[in-house]
Subunit: 373 residues, 2 copies
């Protein structure tokens, strides 16, 4: 194998595949990146067996890439990437001699040990894949809206993923850690029905790849997700099992309702959260009396805080309700809108946060109260 490549191009391609490289892999060869050059094309593959990323660079007139001899090798991902990052030259020449990789750039001359590409696992192949077209903006929005409510406990593995329900011309994405729930419904082109759970870690890495992308295709079979981003292809294993039914959890009615400025509430919650964390009792309380809203914490050994908040469009009954302030802050960040509608029934039933004026369930953040008595 022998090729020369523009250093900045190679470095940015390495950044892409390094998203799939994990510090803790069971298969030793997965600490490496598979580098292949064939017919004027450089292919890099990184994988941690949960997710895999492949990206290609094609030789063209700008001479970003000049292939002299085809071949394949596996290079240690961190070590190789750090070398490329720290070379002083614009162009870098890479060649192999047996399992040794020579990297030459400027006056630097590296020889590093590689591994045979024969032992590198094959990329997944999808059977009878279901394809759905979506814009990068839409997918980023779905992930941002649902990622925070995903469970971080491994006791119920399915809840560590986001549930995608594709039907007709919409994607419904739902996440829940059983204390809170996020739902985002997005209109898309007509697609075949599908029901899959994608690990949240995969979606976080995928989101990182969407920045310079406009449109993409999602493909699913029973066990894999493939995302075609053009030069880059992203693969993730799907979580197996039946995700719990969540539609029935979202209340249809409410008895108390108000509208509030998101940034005002978020700052007040920051302060309440500060007191809650200092006391070790992560609970805050809304106290609604005659259209006046007070956010506060219980009196603890370290102290307490009370704040009066400005609300509008108040309807319904007085209420006291306790909750985890961090969950409400997360919900506000997830919705990412200036004004929010809060709807409550009783102090023991989940309450709902939606963008102001929303009349459907396309953006829902549901939070279960904390019982304090």
């Amino acid at each position: 194998m022998k090729f020369s490549v523009k250093r900045s191009e190679l470095a940015s391609k390495l950044n892409i595949v390094n998203r799939a490289i994990s510090g803790k892999v069971i298969i030793p060869i997965l600490t490496g990146i598979k580098i292949s050059v064939f017919e004027n094309q450089l292919t890099l593959i990184g994988s941690n067996s949960e997710i895999s990323i492949k990206t290609i660079l094609t030789a063209d007139k700008t001479k970003n890439l000049v292939v002299e001899e085809a071949g394949e090798i596996v290079a240690n991902a961190n070590f190789f990437s750090n070398i490329i990052k720290r070379l002083s030259s614009d162009q870098v020449e890479i060649s192999t001699e047996g399992s040794q990789i020579k990297i030459v750039g400027g006056k630097s001359d590296f020889t590093v040990s590689g591994q045979s590409a024969d032992n590198y696992p094959q990329l997944p192949r999808l059977d009878d894949a279901n394809t759905i077209a979506i814009s990068a903006v839409q997918l980023t929005d779905i992930i941002n809206e649902t990622i925070r409510a995903v469970s971080i406990q491994d006791s119920r593995p399915l809840l560590t993923g986001i549930h995608f329900i594709i039907s007709d011309n919409q994607i419904k994405a739902v996440s829940t850690d059983s204390h809170r729930l996020s739902q985002r419904i997005t209109k898309t082109a007509i697609a075949n029905p599908a029901d899959v759970v994608v690990p949240s870690k995969a979606l976080i890495e995928l989101r990182g790849l969407l920045e310079n992308v406009t449109n993409l295709n999602l493909q699913f079979d029973r066990s894999q997700l493939l995302v075609d981003l053009g030069q880059t292809t992203f693969y993730s294993r799907l979580l197996e099992g039946q995700y719990p039914e969540t539609d029935r959890l979202i209340p249809a009615d409410s008895t108390t309702h108000f509208t509030i400025d998101a940034s005002q509430l978020s700052q007040s919650l920051d302060r309440a959260s500060l007191v809650a964390h200092q006391s070790g009792n992560i609970v805050a309380e809304f106290s609604i009396t005659g259209s006046k809203l007070v956010l506060g914490t219980a009196q603890s050994e370290v102290g307490k805080v009370l704040e009066e908040l400005t609300i509008s469009d108040f309807t319904g009954e007085d209420l006291k309700i306790s909750f985890n302030p961090d969950f409400v802050r997360d919900a506000i960040s997830s919705i990412n809108e200036g004004k929010l509608d809060f709807s409550f029934t009783t102090s023991l039933r989940p309450f709902v946060i939606k963008p102001n004026g929303s009349t459907d369930n396309s953006k829902v953040q549901l939070i279960t109260p904390v019982r304090t008595f």
Copy 2:
């Protein structure tokens, strides 16, 4: 106690005293900041028993501070500072009721637990202090030049400090971890002789306070350093004992010499260090043959690197010498000049790095080679 203060002023004063607050203190009250208001002046004190910082804010026409009732209290440093940081208002009102502290800003109303200021330790008093005037730029330069060679091992506590030898009209500052040595001699106003060792941790915090300061006074007695920065006073315990004699360690002659561009060498050392750390053998080698310099690492299981470097003013004999590349990088950062002179005797004797053209020992970085055979 009752006063109102401009929030941003209080926050920046808290940032100052928080430099003395440590997560691991033995005396519980030192997790707090002592807040005192007397006669139109607010005083804040933070301490970790090694260092203490006092800073004052005076009531003036701009009404940054309005004192209504004198008094003292100790507030939890992190909790109180975080509350002040997150309040939404420009002004904040602070008062006490027994050991409770009320903090009111905007619509937020905090009540937090404080501790009696009676239990807070007294600030050190210096006996027969020796005073020396110095500019903040000079002191920053001394610290930057010597801090990296300080020992991080507790086995020889004195070496964890910087040795200041004040005589006539100069300060000589020396640090060594017994593998390398840094020396900086600075001309100052006439001062009485003194010989003290200041803990490096104290000097790092002190450096952080020098940014908006022009001139300052250092005062020493046998056990304490006091730095008068105007509104802020910094105290540090001194290290006790006889610092080793270091003058004799700096070689007077050399048999091989060259001049090199600091940034070129630093980048090459970055790459050599990368290979050295990957292989676990933190050694690089200069190989000087007929006025040609090659920097390289030994061949290891992970690989090796070789780089030819451009040097000038070469004189003397060919040489191969092995060293810790991180120490040379640190030395280059410490000297902080564009061109450097390297002087060697044999491959077993320490070598010296100075700014290009330096004919005295006012800026010296000394590095002991690594024996590789």
